[in-house]
Amino acid sequence: PPAHSCKDWIGPPDKHSNLRPVIFYVPPEESPLERRLREARQEAQACDQHFWARHNRAFCQEKEEFIYSRLKAKGLEMRDETGQKATLNAEEMADFYKDFLSKNFRKHMQYNRDWYKRNFTITFLMGQVALVRALRRLRWKKKNVGN
């Protein structure tokens, strides 16, 4: 984002976490409330990024391992004669999906709780900041009108 910009900027989805990173603008006269909001958003972004990048990587890795072990059990190689990667059909993969979901259930429960908490906190702070800004603008306008 350009240096002169006074807005937040959002980027393309991350390769691993699929979340879009945000670069937050720090205004020169940032109030404590605004700083709390920005820091909360930054922290949330970091938490989400960490969780999903790790989770997606684990998914792909375990999927590879599953395919490998199943192919080995069937006596097939990872690649067939033409050099392409051998894959399992949907029904065979279904076992993996079920297993993966139940293995990660508790992890998801924890993440869900954290996510909801963070989401509500951030939105509430946004509301507070918006209210304060609106009141400030109203007072400034009144002052101007008065003058």
Partner: protein, 440 residues
């Protein structure tokens, strides 16, 4: 071919193989399925399967505008998936890109050229200022409120209104439709507000406004409140309190029960089916002011319909659900998934037979609807027995036309309330016409 060569050179192992694999399997049926699948995902988001009904043949006209939109989206998505070629193992891209590649293949075959879209996708990969542009706002809010899905919900409510055995009141009808529409917008917005990181990780939902940062969460909540409050107020004051209460309850059920439950237990499907069943009940209570057997029957028909529809759809989305952490029957209890779908197909036959008993329709309704109900039950049975992609697809596609047709047939077989009045007179009334005719 070009892509395969390019990718092979950059050393990605999986993607070229998927391409070749993809080229082999791509055929007309597949393409159609992918289009429809994507279309249906629009209606039947895993989060929104409740609001996936189509009331009348209106659905046909709704289907085609989607295709143009979605084709572009598909191509856009795919182009920018292929571009960031890195030697690093792309984690999620394996299957999602496989899906996207399929869609691209199908889109390319249909369109013939993907070049015009490249500019758009490049833009999509750039950093964007998080500033709300007023001219974008209507489009953003439409996507936030899932406007097309809302339209379908409103048509279901209209079907409920139309089936009610009372004289048609246009004002009431319009107020009820508007109120239901606003309530649906509110519920959908809150749903998206709750699901941002999960939506980012699923192909179907990753272009939503909150995911892309086009709108702030605060604004999304404010929009939801500014739709929900007037919507429910309109229903309560402009129609009747019962409809308002049902609307408010449905919003609560959808946002506070169904949405969190999706990630906790497979029971979410049943809750979602109730959410889908309530709009026609609301339509009925808007017309009659009371919750009688007819309303419950209509709700029951929609409730049962949800299962073959959603279970068949979810059969093909197991990977995304598994990775995203969604607890769906198709992943955790596949046999139950198929059994429930079949069970509810058969229930539809039963419910159609009950309709004339409750004086909602004439006896021609169960007779005329029997063929389509039997057909969907047959497909439900095939899905139960075969448990494969092709049977799930067939069942899903059937459900798409089955519901509008069933509701249409129901409407044409609706028992005119004049008939009922006469019947009442014959049976015991001291009322006017019937008696006059009988007197010598």
């Amino acid at each position: 071919g070009l892509f395969v060569w390019h990718l092979k050179n950059t050393g990605i192992r999986q993607v070229p193989c998927q391409f070749v694999h993809l080229c082999r399997v791509a055929n007309a049926r597949f393409i159609t399925f992918q289009y429809f699948n994507f279309l249906k995902r629009m209606y039947v988001t895993q989060h929104n399967k409740d609001l996936s009904q189509r009331a009348k043949p209106k659905s046909d006209s709704v289907a085609s505008p989607f295709r143009e939109l979605q084709q572009l989206d598909q191509e856009k998505k795919v182009i920018h998936k292929i571009r960031p070629i890195s030697p690093v193992h792309q984690p999620l891209s394996e299957t999602s890109s496989r899906n996207e590649l399929r869609e691209m293949k199908s889109a390319a075959e249909a369109e013939g050229s993907v070049t015009p879209v490249r500019a758009e996708s490049k833009e999509d990969r750039q950093w964007k200022e998080m500033k709300l542009r007023l001219d974008d706002l209507p489009g953003i809010l439409a996507r936030l409120s899932k406007i097309k899905l809302t339209a379908l919900v409103v048509s279901t409510a209209s079907a409920g209104f139309a089936m009610a055995p009372v004289p048609f009141d246009l004002t009431c009808f319009l107020l009820a439709s508007l109120g239901t529409g606003l309530a649906s917008c509110a519920a959908n917005s809150i749903n998206q507000f709750f699901e941002v990181p999960f939506d980012s990780n699923m192909n179907r939902t990753k272009n939503r406004p909150l995911v892309r940062g086009q709108i702030s969460p605060l604004l999304a909540v404010c929009f939801a409140a500014s739709c929900g409050v007037p919507g429910i107020a309109l229903l309560t004051l402009g129609v009747n309190p019962l409809t308002g209460a049902l609307g408010a309850f449905n919003i609560f059920l959808y946002t506070c029960c169904y949405t969190p439950m999706k990630r906790m237990s497979i029971a979410n499907t049943w809750v979602g089916a109730v959410v889908g069943a309530i709009p026609p009940v609301m339509g009925w209570t808007a017309a009659t002011g009371s919750l009688d057997a007819g309303a419950l029957l209509l709700g029951g028909i929609l409730y049962s319909w949800q299962f073959p529809h959603f279970n068949a759809l979810s059969w093909g989305l197991r990977e995304d659900y598994s990775r995203g952490g969604y607890c769906m029957m198709s992943v955790t209890h596949p046999r139950l998934c198929r059994r429930v779908a079949l069970r509810h197909c058969l229930a539809l036959i039963g419910l159609s037979t009950v309709a004339p008993v409750l004086d909602i329709t004439t006896w021609t309704f169960p007779v005329i609807s029997l063929p389509i109900n039997l057909y969907i039950s047959y497909l439900g049975f095939r899905f139960y027995r075969d448990a494969d992609r092709s049977s799930s697809r067939k069942l899903f596609f059937c459900s798409l036309w089955h519901l509008p047709m069933l509701l249409l047939v129901m409407f044409t077989c609706k028992k005119s309330f004049l008939e009922k009045e006469d019947k009442g007179d014959l049976l015991g009334g001291n009322h006017g016409r019937a008696m006059e005719i009988r007197l010598p």
